[in-house]
């Protein structure tokens, strides 16, 4: 069994909507022992018994597919055991015998890959009769998970967001996460939100300023003063504060350098020195007896409260302190890092000191029932426990906690309260608030050692997204073989409506509010992701190409509208495992499958493969077709569905039986008064998409009329020029279907002689190249052929030679001219144009071609007059 390739696909993809790892496995030459081992391991991995010996021979074996399926399940199980549960998996046999493609869902990429490796290793080891150690493997995987996964605080917020259908994007390796898209987004970093003020955090770090502010709002705080030397500390303790006291550093949190319940000069001075290590200023404050509570305030409400106890053990009269600690650490909820619910108790220096103060050593045997502290502070990270007491907090204390958070300026705050009974007002028990913490840990509230877990992540999400908002902005995804870019650009123009800020990606680049900010091919998921991170975007339109879908899935989790223009004969067939048009349709239908339940797919009723995608759409369907009598369209309307079509010269929007003329084809410039059929179809698709997005009809009309076909709006898409009385069309269409559509459209432009400049990328099949040549040969009088920049694996000259083969079979072409360099080829063709000619230029690099045409146009008047040698 060999693992040939692994690929991570983070976005919705050909397998489904969840992120998957695709692995290619070669089982050629493997025998039954592997199959049996795989089945046996799958059965037992979930509940491993250490006494189990590998004895897979007794199991019935089921064939290679079964082996891979079992393997996939083992990988899922390992992920679950490591703490990152995933459930989807699928196995497919490839055309190569013995080679299988397995896809399984993942939560953390690195972890999932390690699970895959571990599964393969264990199956092979078991098949060979070697010993395996699943628990050890799981331990290792859990450690990986701990390092990579979001911490529990951040994770609770992310899960709460997902439960509300709010999209989440992880922004870095730490806990920075974007919730929502575009303008509707919020950022969080663990329990910090983008509403948490830097000044508030600074204030919370300064215990002295915090105290002053708390006093200002009437919150009971312990009497205390700041001192800067040890003598002063003791003097202040005795004269101004009153023993016993607490000594703590003025700045910082996390409980470092804090010593409580001090009554002697030595204790106070020693504590001063310890606190001094954290900073010059030290606070001496009255010690408040009582229990240690942490109240979590979110958006002006106390959403959780926890009673915290420091790490301790309870004697049983027999066991040593050390043994009691070990016993406590056996609790599976106790881990080594921050990642687990509780932390392990550690007998370190501080613990030894604390024990010493109580008169114990690790070997002492405490009396039965005696509580022995291992730490004095109640932090979870040092082994403390937390009991949920949310229901018991009395309204007066809650009010104080809320006021404390407000005056410091925190949207999310952990308020430390020390009092006897949290259900009685502080004033009745000399209870006090001792600290306000920014970015508090949520772990103790999410998974208390006792009591009810609280959905604090949900409370934070509720604050950021009130009233059921889901942080989404409308996203339209456009795919298909031809017309993608034109439809995307037109749709983006329509979606602007009155004053929306549209973020659009297409093969020409990324466009923000009409401004182009990148000149590369941006029809993939990374560019889409960049747009969704932009806080100004309130509508997004993404051209979604086949390549990106196969490589990494979609750059967004769901869309409001999916537009599929056509599949036709397909393009790029024979690449990446996509052999037929049906295969291609399945890939492109990914966007349809990602439509939100309240969204719509805009589908070409005249293309059977596209129309059939209706079955995959979770939302509603809007069909478009030039012919309003298209049977699929008609049936759909009869069932109450929506459609967009042309009747006579008018574009009609229909819903069920109701119809409304939107505007005439004449009024949509890109259709060339309706004469260019494929552009009319593109217009229908874009208008249907914008309609489905919710652009009001009057705005649709206004925007449609203002979308021109110039070089700036749709460069390289049906740009038409006049040169020396001849017509020149610059169009990027680069497959047979596009060429056919273009040829049909030529009737709209009066001409006598036809010329063409053409080529194709090297990764197309030989048959595709020849076929295009045939189409050229039948349609054009003179054909210029060039060698494109992207010849891939072909030899120079090979591509034009193959196309030439097809041209020579054609009926019309009299002259074939080879000009190898693309720019030279365009120039040579332009030089030939005379009155009555029609030249179709299909450029390799649109930007280069446009620049060339611009230069040419600016020089043409002179050239007509003077034929200068160049």
């Amino acid at each position: 069994m060999r693992l040939l390739k692994t690929k991570t696909v983070p976005g919705p993809n050909v397998w489904g909507l969840c992120p998957v790892i695709e692995s290619t496995l070669d089982l050629g030459g493997s025998d039954d022992s592997l199959t049996a081992a795989s089945a046996w391991l799958r059965r037992h991995i979930g509940s491993w018994n250490p006494d189990l010996k590998p004895s897979p021979n007794g199991t019935k074996s089921g064939g290679h597919a079964e082996l891979v399926r079992d393997l996939a399940h083992i990988v899922l199980e390992l992920q679950k055991l490591a703490g990152a549960p995933a459930s989807f998996s699928k196995v497919v046999e490839t055309r190569q015998p013995g080679v299988f493609l397995a896809a399984f869902e993942y939560v953390e990429e690195q972890l999932a890959r390690e699970c895959l490796d571990a599964a393969c290793e264990m199956v092979q080891a078991a098949a060979a009769g070697q010993a395996i150690d699943p628990p050890g493997t799981v331990e290792r995987l859990r450690a990986t998970a701990g390092r990579q996964m979001l911490g529990p605080s951040t994770n609770s917020i992310v899960q709460a967001a997902r439960a509300r259908n709010i999209p989440t994007i992880r922004l870095d390796e730490g806990s920075l996460v974007q919730l929502g898209h575009g303008r509707a987004q919020h950022r969080i970093r663990a329990a910090e939100t983008d509403r948490t003020l830097a000044t508030a955090e600074g204030i919370a770090q300064d215990k002295e300023v915090t105290r002053t502010l708390l006093q200002a709002v009437g919150v009971p705080v312990p009497r205390g003063f700041t001192v800067t030397d040890a003598e002063d500390a003791w003097y202040t303790a005795v004269e101004y504060v009153g023993l016993p006291v607490v000594v703590k550093p003025r700045y910082g949190n996390q409980g470092r350098g804090v010593a409580a319940d001090l009554s002697t000069c030595e204790q106070v001075k020693a504590a001063f020195e310890a606190a001094r290590k954290e900073g010059e200023d030290v606070i001496v404050e009255k010690f408040a007896p009582g229990q240690d509570y942490r109240l979590l305030v979110v958006d002006g409400k106390v959403v959780a409260a926890s009673r915290r106890e420091p790490a301790h053990v309870t004697g049983d009269g027999r066991s040593s302190v050390r043994a009691l600690v070990d016993e406590k650490n056996r609790d599976p909820r106790r881990g080594d890092a921050h990642a687990t619910v509780l932390s392990k108790l550690v007998l370190d220096e501080i613990a030894l000191q604390v024990l010493g103060e109580q008169g114990y050593t690790p070997d002492s045997v405490p009396v039965s029932g005696k509580r022995v502290l291992i730490r004095r502070n109640a932090n979870l990270s040092t082994g403390g426990t937390a009991t949920d007491v949310t229901e018991s907090v009395c309204p007066e204390i809650a009010e104080h906690a809320v006021a404390a958070a407000a005056v410091v300026g925190l949207d999310v705050a952990g308020i430390d309260v020390i009092t006897g009974d949290i259900s009685l007002p502080l004033e009745q028990q000399s209870g006090v608030i001792v600290e306000v913490n920014a970015a508090p840990g949520l772990r103790m509230h999410l998974s208390p050692s006792e009591g009810t877990p609280r959905d604090v992540g949900g409370a934070i999400v509720e604050m950021l997204f009130p009233n059921g908002e889901n942080g989404r902005i409308p996203i339209a995804a456009v795919t298909g073989t031809n017309g993608k870019t034109t439809v995307t650009r037109f749709l983006a123009h329509l979606a602007k409506g009155k004053d929306h800020f549209v973020g659009m990606t297409c093969t020409d680049g990324i466009f923000l509010d009409g401004r182009r900010i990148s000149s590369d091919d941006c029809s993939g998921p990374i560019s889409a992701g960049l747009v969704l991170m932009n806080p100004k975007v309130d509508v997004a339109v993404f051209e979604t190409a086949r390549g990106g879908i196969l490589r990494a899935g979609l750059g967004f989790d769901r869309c409001r509208v999916a537009v599929v223009t056509n599949i036709a004969d397909g393009d790029h067939l024979g690449q990446s495992g996509v052999e037929t048009a049906e295969d291609l349709a399945h890939v492109k239908a990914t966007v349809v499958r990602a439509v939100l339940p309240d969204g719509a797919a805009v589908l070409n009723a005249a293309d059977p493969l596209v129309a059939a995608m209706a079955a995959d759409c979770p939302g509603r369907i809007v069909y478009f077709a030039l012919d309003g009598h298209n049977p699929i369209l008609v049936r759909h309307r009869e069932a109450g569905g929506a459609a967009v079509f042309v009747r006579g010269r008018a574009i009609v929007l229909a819903e069920g039986a109701a119809e409304e003329v939107l505007l005439d084809l004449e009024q949509v410039p890109i259709t060339f008064q309706g004469r260019v059929e494929f552009e009319a179809e593109n217009a229908l698709a874009a208008l249907a998409g914008a309609w489905a997005l919710g652009v009001p009809k009057p705005l649709l009309v206004e925007r449609a009329r203002s979308f021109h076909t110039g070089i700036d709006e749709v460069p390289g898409r049906m740009n038409v020029f006049s040169i020396r009385g001849g017509t020149v069309i610059l169009d990027y269409g680069h497959n047979a279907a596009a060429l056919r559509a273009m040829t049909a459209a030529l009737e709209a432009f009066p001409h006598r002689r036809r010329l063409a400049v053409y080529s194709m990328a090297g990764d197309r099949r030989d048959s595709d190249l020849i076929h295009v040549g045939e189409l050229l040969g039948d349609a054009f009088d003179t054909v210029f052929l060039y060698d494109p920049y992207t010849i891939r694996d072909r030899a120079p000259g090979e591509i034009p030679a193959l196309i030439r083969q097809g041209v020579e079979r054609g009926a019309r072409t009299r002259e074939i001219v080879d000009v190898p360099n693309p720019a030279e080829s365009l120039r040579a063709a332009l030089d030939r144009v005379e009155a009555g000619d029609l030249l179709v230029m299909q450029p390799d690099d649109i930007d280069e071609a446009i620049a060339l045409v611009r230069t040419y146009l600016s020089q043409v008047p002179e050239r007509v007059g003077e034929r200068e040698a160049r």
Binding site: A200, D206, E208, V209, L213, V217, P535
Partner: protein, 554 residues
């Protein structure tokens, strides 16, 4: 003089019986000359400590043989220590001043914070400093705003974190369509060389997350230089990774964005030294460092040139060391960046200003210092292959010489025409407590939060009660009030006079109708004066009158 001769010494943060301004007042037994010297020395020491104070005076005390010294103060603790030092002997010897100054250095307002406080005062916006740090609370109660250096109470903590994380900030900029240099993180020296090769052309090496432009190596072309720079930069950042970026050609600029607008821009050109055939580079640099604009103090716009690793590397690539003696007229490049001297605020092309504002927005900062590289800031960046490098939170002010940055920031939090004040009512005299309680109840019935600390974020009215003794000992918190109630009718006490002097022209003073000093009152303030009859239930009546007046001001 000694402590024994001091009857009392008090510090006042607001108006007191002795001054409208914050002062230290001390009653001492001694001659006028002694007291005068004490006052002047206290003043001088404060100035040595960096306080901006200038007034000190002396007068005869109420008891014979006593004097009253009144010295302007900026910080109470500093004033007290200076006073104590002056007591031990005027003038205080130099070896005692030094330690005093060092101690005060930690406490006195830093230049940025001072600039902000002064900008607020110029607009009559109340300012209080909280603690010893840079936190300033401007305004009162519900109208308060907070500033912490170049960071307002609208600055998100996450935005700051993103600004400090250079690779992450670049992602944000890229998503907003802002041109940034191509590049990536490298994890070891070989990786850095590979990254440079991917980019092609000269590269910049810098730590992932350091500040102040330290350890930034520009224009590296050879693998050896790249590796050396990698090692140096690696130590600075937190994760050991280093950014390798394409070196953008052009001059460095720093653009300051405040509240969605570009308010200042500086341009820096590479620093060269020109030889004279005699002096070494070290001597030439010493001369450069004589420029008063260069210094380590925060007030100085530029740092002194040091022969640190970056400078040595720059010189080394030209084949120079600090000891090299250049030929007459020969030039040596000393530093590529860090020389932001030229104010180009008026030259920034609107499109570039738009990009800078957008950059601050993309990261989420309301106040930011944008570092960008361009040949000419008056030409749109895309036309000249310029790029933005960084978005810095809490930018410095001092480098923008001549631009009132502090005023602009204060205007950002308090637009023209606002001053952050809330109506303040003060009650004076024996019955102050009772009347204040009534007023408080009346306000609470209307849902208005009132109190004496002026810090509560929902507080709409300041309400204070004063006794003569209290005024004598502690003075006032505020410098202006809107309503004053005087409850004593026998005499017009000094404290009451001070309060009356604080009532604004549009305010109201209430006094018992039997008070004979109404005319005198009118000379102290031009507010409206009304009387009330001190019969049974007068407290409630007065409270109602105050409540009415306050609701009118609301």
């Amino acid at each position: 003089m000694s402590m024994a001769q001091v009857l009392w010494v008090r510090c006042f943060r607001g108006p007191s019986l002795w001054s409208r301004e914050p002062v230290l007042a001390a009653a001492v037994r001694g001659t006028p000359e002694e007291a005068g010297a004490l006052a002047q020395e206290t003043l001088r020491l404060q100035v040595e400590c960096g306080a901006h104070v200038s007034r000190a005076s002396c007068a005869e005390g109420s008891e014979p043989g006593t004097q009253l010294a009144v010295v302007e103060l900026e910080d109470e603790e500093v004033a007290r220590r200076c006073f104590s030092a002056a007591l031990e002997g005027c003038p205080v010897p130099a070896d005692k001043v030094g330690p005093l100054r060092e101690w005060a250095d930690e406490i006195v307002l830093g230049p940025n914070t001072r600039a902000l406080a002064e900008a607020a005062r110029r607009r009559s916006i109340p300012v209080r400093r909280m603690g010893r740090g840079s936190l300033l609370i401007l305004g009162y109660g519900i109208r308060q705003r907070r500033l912490w250096g170049a960071r307002s109470d609208r600055t998100s903590a996450i935005a700051e974190m993103i600004g400090w994380d250079k690779p992450l900030a670049k992602e944000m900029l890229r998503s907003a369509g802002i041109p940034v240099p191509a590049g990536r993180l490298a994890s070891d020296a070989a990786d850095a060389v590979a990254a440079a090769a991917e980019l092609g052309g000269p590269v910049v090496i810098k730590p992932e997350s350091a500040n102040h432009g330290r350890s930034v190596y520009l224009n590296l072309t050879d693998p050896a230089g790249i590796e050396a720079a990698f090692s140096a930069a690696q130590g600075e950042g937190a994760t050991g990774q280093v950014l390798v970026e394409r070196c953008v050609q052009g001059a460095e600029h720093r653009v300051l964005v405040v509240g969605g607008r570009v308010v200042a821009a500086l341009r820096g050109d590479p620093l060269y030294a020109t030889g004279d055939g005699v002096r070494s580079l070290r001597a030439l640099v010493d001369e450069i460092n004589l420029d008063p604009a260069r210094g380590v103090e925060p007030e100085c716009p530029l740092y002194p040139v040091e022969f640190d690793e970056v400078t040595l590397a720059t010189l080394g690539r030209q084949g120079f060391t600090p000891e090299t003696i250049l030929a007459a007229g020969e030039r040596a490049l000393i530093q590529r960046n860090g020389n932001l001297k030229l104010d180009v605020t008026g030259d920034v092309h609107p499109a570039n200003a738009g990009l800078c504002v957008l950059a601050a927005e993309a990261v989420g900062l309301d106040i930011a210092g944008i570092d960008l590289v361009a040949e000419d800031i008056a030409v749109p960046l895309p036309e000249q292959a310029g790029a933005l490098l960084e978005v810095n939170p809490m930018p410095g002010f001092a480098m923008h010489v001549g631009i009132p940055v502090a005023d602009l920031i204060v205007r950002e939090v308090y637009p023209e025409g606002t001053d952050g004040r809330i109506p303040i009512a003060a009650v004076h005299g024996a019955s102050a407590a009772t009347v204040a309680r009534e007023i408080h109840a009346a306000l609470r019935a209307r849902g208005v939060v009132a109190g004496a600390l002026l810090l509560h974020p929902r507080q709409a009215v300041g309400l204070f009660e004063f006794s003569e003794q209290g005024l004598f000992e502690r003075g006032l918190e505020f410098d202006q009030c809107d309503v004053l109630v005087l409850t004593d009718s026998e005499c017009f006490e000094p404290g009451a006079r001070v309060l009356a002097g604080c009532v604004g022209a549009g305010g109201l003073v209430l006094l018992p109708d039997s008070a004979p000093w109404r005319a005198e009152l009118a000379t102290l303030c031009s507010a409206c004066v009304r009387t009330y009859a001190p019969g049974p239930g007068w407290e409630t009546t007065v409270a109602r009158m105050v409540d009415e007046e306050l609701s009118g001001l609301g």
